[in-house]
C-alpha cells in the first residue's frame, strides 16, 4: 500500500516537475538576454529526473532490505530469550510470528502469549517502518525537486545530464536481461551441484538405465533410483533426427521455391500462412500427433508387419518436424533472398539455367545462413516438450528404433517436477541436472550457429 502511494506520488511529482521546470526555463529565457544552453523541454526533463531518482533508489532499497531489517528488529525484541536456538529454529520462529501477524495462521487462538505479543510488535514495526520509508522517499524527492528547480539557469547543461540519464537507463534495462539469464543458469547450476553430490556425475552422464524412483522406506521394492541419462539422450536424439529429416528438406525446398520461383503474389499470400504454423501452440501439435499421426503410423506399420508402439518416436518426431518447418523455411528464405541479385545475373549471363544458378551459386552463397537456421531449429527441437510429452511416451527405452516408445530430457524434467515434491531428493534434483545438460547443449548449438553465420557470411554491401 505504502509502496503504491510512493510510486504514484513520485509519478505525479515527476509530471509536475517537468512542467514547472519547463516553465521556469521559458520564463528565464524571456527575462534574460542570455540564451539558454538547453531547450526548455530538457530543463523540464531534468527536474522530473531528479524527482524520480531518489524515489527510485529508496524503492529499490526498501524492497531489498525490508525483510532483513524487520527480522533483525524482531529478534532484538525477543532479546536473550532465544539465544540458545539454532538458525533453523530462529527461522521457524520468525515465520510463525509473521504468519500470525498476517492472519494466515490458524493457530492464533492456540499460540502462546509471547508469540502473540511478538506478532503485535512485528505488525507495529512493519507499520512504522513503511510509514517512515514513505516519508523519507517523499521528502527526498521533494528536496531534490526543489534543488533541481533552483539550479535551472541559462548555463545549466540540462541536455547533457538528461542524455546521460537516458543512456544509464537503457544500460540498466539491457543489464537486467543479462542478469536474469545469469541468474537462471546459476540457480540450475547450484541445484545440479547438489544432485551430483548424491549421484556421481559419470553415472549420470554415461549410465544406461533411467529409473528415477527413490525409496521412501528401506524395504521398498523396485525403487533403487537409477539415474543413467543415456536413454534420455538417445531418445532426444532420435526424435530430433526424425524432426530434422522432416523439417530440413521441406523447409529448405519451400524456402527455395518461395525465394526463387514463386510469383510475388503467391509469395505474399503463402509466406504468412506458413508462418502461422509457427504460432500454433505446441499442445495443439501434440493433439495432432496423438490423435492423427500416431494411429496412422501404427496402422501403416501393422500393414507392413512391423510392431509399432502406440506412442512412437516417429510420430513425435514427424509432428515436431512439421512444427519447425516454418522456422527453417523462414530463416533459409531470408538467407536466400539476401544473396545479391548481381550473383544470380552473373551466373545467368554465363549461360547457366535457373536451377543451375540456384544449385551452384545461390545455395552455396546462402549456406552459412541455412546452416545457422538448421542449428537453431535443432536446438528448438531439443528443447521442445509438449509434443513429446503427449506423443512419445514416458518409457526410458535405450533404443535407436524410431518405432519404439522413447522419452526425452524435457519430458523427464516435466514428469520429475509434476505434483508434490520434496526439493532435496535425488529424484527432483535430477530435473535440474537434466535442465543443465539441456541448457549447455542448446547454448552450444546456438553459439556454433552464430559463429557459422558470422564467420562464413560473405560481406555483400
Amino acid at each position: 500500500m505504502q509502496l503504491t502511494i510512493l510510486i504514484i506520488t513520485t509519478l505525479i511529482l515527476c509530471a509536475i516537475g517537468f512542467f514547472v521546470g519547463r516553465r521556469r526555463a521559458v520564463s528565464i529565457s524571456r527575462q534574460k538576454t542570455k540564451k539558454l544552453h538547453s531547450m526548455p523541454n530538457f530543463h523540464g526533463s531534468y527536474v522530473a529526473m531528479w524527482c524520480a531518482i531518489p524515489a527510485f533508489i529508496i524503492i529499490v532499497l526498501w524492497l531489498a532490505l525490508e525483510q532483513q531489517i524487520l527480522n533483525a528488529l524482531l529478534l532484538a525484541h525477543f532479546g536473550s530469550s532465544i539465544a540458545d536456538l539454532d538458525s533453523v529454529q530462529i527461522e521457524l520462529l520468525i515465520n510463525d510470528v509473521k504468519n500470525i501477524a498476517s492472519g494466515s495462521s490458524f493457530g492464533r487462538g492456540k499460540s502462546s502469549d509471547i508469540l502473540l505479543n511478538a506478532a503485535d510488535h512485528y505488525e507495529s514495526l512493519q507499520l512504522t517502518f513503511r510509514a517512515s520509508v514513505l516519508a523519507a522517499g517523499l521528502s527526498f524527492s521533494i528536496a531534490s525537486f526543489l534543488w533541481a528547480w533552483k539550479r535551472i539557469s541559462p548555463t545549466l547543461k540540462a541536455r547533457n545530464y538528461v542524455e546521460f540519464a537516458v543512456k544509464v537507463f537503457l544500460f540498466i534495462c539491457s543489464t537486467i536481461a543479462i542478469i536474469t539469464t545469469v541468474g537462471i543458469v546459476l540457480s540450475v547450476l547450484f541445484e545440479s551441484i547438489r544432485f551430483f553430490g548424491q549421484i556421481s556425475f559419470w553415472d549420470f552422464l554415461f549410465g544406461s538405465h533411467w529409473s528415477p524412483q527413490t525409496a521412501i522406506r528401506d524395504d521398498q521394492v523396485g525403487s533403487s533410483g537409477s539415474f543413467g541419462a543415456i536413454p534420455l539422450f538417445t531418445g532426444t536424439l532420435t526424435i530430433t533426427i526424425v524432426a530434422m529429416l522432416v523439417a530440413l528438406p521441406i523447409g529448405l525446398f519451400s524456402a527455395i521455391y518461395m525465394a526463387e520461383f514463386a510469383s510475388p503474389r503467391f509469395r505474399k499470400t503463402v509466406k504468412p500462412i506458413l508462418e502461422i504454423l509457427a504460432g500454433i501452440p505446441t499442445v495443439v501439435y501434440g493433439f495432432f500427433a496423438v490423435l492423427t499421426i500416431a494411429p496412422a503410423i501404427r496402422g501403416f506399420g501393422t500393414e507392413l508387419g512391423l510392431t509399432v508402439a502406440s506412442e512412437s518416436a516417429l510420430a513425435a518426431g514427424i509432428v515436431m518436424g512439421i512444427m519447425i518447418i516454418p522456422f527453417v523455411s523462414s530463416l533459409s528464405d531470408d538467407a536466400i533472398v539476401a544473396v545479391p541479385k548481381s550473383l544470380r545475373e552473373g551466373s545467368l549471363a554465363l549461360g547457366s539455367t535457373h536451377s543451375e544458378t540456384i544449385k551452384k551459386v545461390v545455395i552455396p552463397a546462402a549456406l552459412p545462413g541455412i546452416v545457422a537456421a538448421c542449428l537453431l531449429a535443432i536446438s528448438r527441437a531439443i528443447g521442445e516438450t509438449m509434443i513429446v510429452v503427449m506423443a512419445a511416451g514416458l518409457a526410458a527405452n535405450l533404443t535407436a528404433n524410431p518405432l519404439n516408445s522413447v522419452t526425452t530430457v524435457t519430458v523427464q524434467i516435466v514428469t520429475l517436477l509434476v505434483g508434490d515434491q520434496e526439493f532435496d531428493s535425488a529424484k527432483t534434483l535430477a530435473a535440474f541436472a537434466l535442465g543443465l545438460v539441456l541448457f549447455v547443449s542448446t547454448l552450444g548449438l546456438n553459439i556454433v550457429a552464430l559463429y557459422v553465420s558470422r564467420r562464413y557470411r560473405e560481406q555483400y554491401d
Binding site: 545479391p340 548481381s342 552473373g346 549471363a349 549461360g351 552455396p364
Partner: protein
C-alpha cells in the same frame, strides 16, 4: 538521326526498331544500331537514358525482369535472337557479360573461372579445364597476380582484380561478344587503366560493347560510339568523329559537359 551510319567492317550484331517497355513506361524507342565485329562499341549518355537496358537486350538478360517487354529485331550473325527456336542458355554462352560491380561467386578463383566451362561441359578432363582456366586468366591479365593462390576465394581479391576475374570468367566459355556494363565505375584509376588496356587487347578476339559514363574512357577504348538520350540514339558514328566533329548539338553539349 544518324544511327544508320555505314560501318565499313563486318557486322556481328544488329538491332532494328527495338522498343523496350518497363510496364507502361517506354525505356527505349526505335533503336537501330549495328555492332561491328572485333571492334569496341561504346554506349554513352546521361543516367537513365536506356544504354544499360539496350545492353541487356543484346543477351536477353531483360528476360529475367517480369515487367520488361522487348519488341523489334535483334540479330546475332543474321539470326534473330528473340525468335522462338533460340535457346537463351546457348545464346548467353555466346554473348558474355561483365557487370558494373564485380560479382565473383563465393567460390575459389579457379572455380569462378571454371564455372562456365563446367556447366557447358566444354572439357573432358581436369587437365583441359586447367588449361582453359589458365588461358582465361592469362588473357584477363590476372594470371601472374593469382597463379599461386588459385584456391583462395574470389572475393578475397581487390576490386580491380575481381573485375578482371569476372572478365576471365566471361571469356572462359569463348563467347563471340562481350557486353560490359560500366565495368570500371567501381574501380580506382589504376585498376581502370588495367581493365581498359585489357579491353583493347580483347577486341582482337571478341566483339565488345561497353556502356560507360566516362567520356575519356569511351574515347580511349572504343572505335564506335553511340550517344543515347531519353531512350533514343541521338548519334552513332566512329568514336573519333563523335568526339571531334559531332553532327548533333546535343552530342556536342554532352561530351563537352554542358549537360547530363
Amino acid at each position: 538521326m544518324n544511327s544508320q551510319t555505314e560501318i565499313s567492317k563486318q557486322i556481328r550484331m544488329r538491332a532494328q526498331n527495338v522498343d523496350v517497355f518497363y510496364g507502361d513506361k517506354q525505356a527505349l524507342k526505335k533503336i537501330n544500331l549495328d555492332i561491328a565485329a572485333n571492334q569496341v562499341t561504346a554506349l554513352i549518355g546521361p543516367s537513365g537514358c536506356g544504354k544499360s537496358t539496350f545492353l541487356r537486350c543484346l543477351n536477353r538478360m531483360n528476360d529475367t525482369i517480369d515487367s520488361c517487354k522487348v519488341s523489334g529485331d535483334v540479330s546475332l550473325d543474321q539470326r534473330d535472337i528473340y525468335s522462338k527456336d533460340v535457346d537463351v542458355v546457348e545464346l548467353r554462352a555466346r554473348i558474355g557479360m561483365v557487370f558494373q560491380k564485380p560479382n565473383p561467386f563465393p567460390k575459389s578463383i579457379y572455380d569462378n573461372v571454371a564455372y562456365g566451362p563446367r556447366i557447358h561441359g566444354l572439357t573432358n578432363n581436369r587437365h583441359e579445364l586447367d588449361i582453359i582456366v589458365e588461358q582465361s586468366l592469362l588473357r584477363a591479365g590476372l594470371f601472374d597476380e593469382v597463379s599461386d593462390r588459385l584456391n583462395s576465394p574470389g572475393t578475397s581479391l581487390s576490386g580491380g582484380q575481381q573485375q578482371r576475374l569476372c572478365i576471365a570468367r566471361a571469356i572462359a566459355i569463348s563467347p563471340e561478344v562481350i557486353l560490359m556494363d560500366e565495368p570500371c565505375s567501381a574501380l580506382d584509376p589504376i585498376a581502370t587503366a588495367k581493365v581498359e588496356e585489357l579491353i583493347d587487347e580483347l577486341k582482337d578476339h571478341y566483339t565488345i560493347v561497353i556502356v560507360t559514363h566516362n567520356m575519356q574512357q569511351a574515347a580511349r577504348v572504343s572505335q564506335y560510339t553511340a550517344f543515347f538520350h531519353l531512350g533514343e540514339i541521338i548519334e552513332f558514328a566512329e568514336t573519333e568523329k563523335i568526339f571531334t566533329n559531332p553532327v548533333e548539338k546535343r552530342t556536342q553539349d554532352y561530351i563537352t559537359g554542358r549537360f547530363g
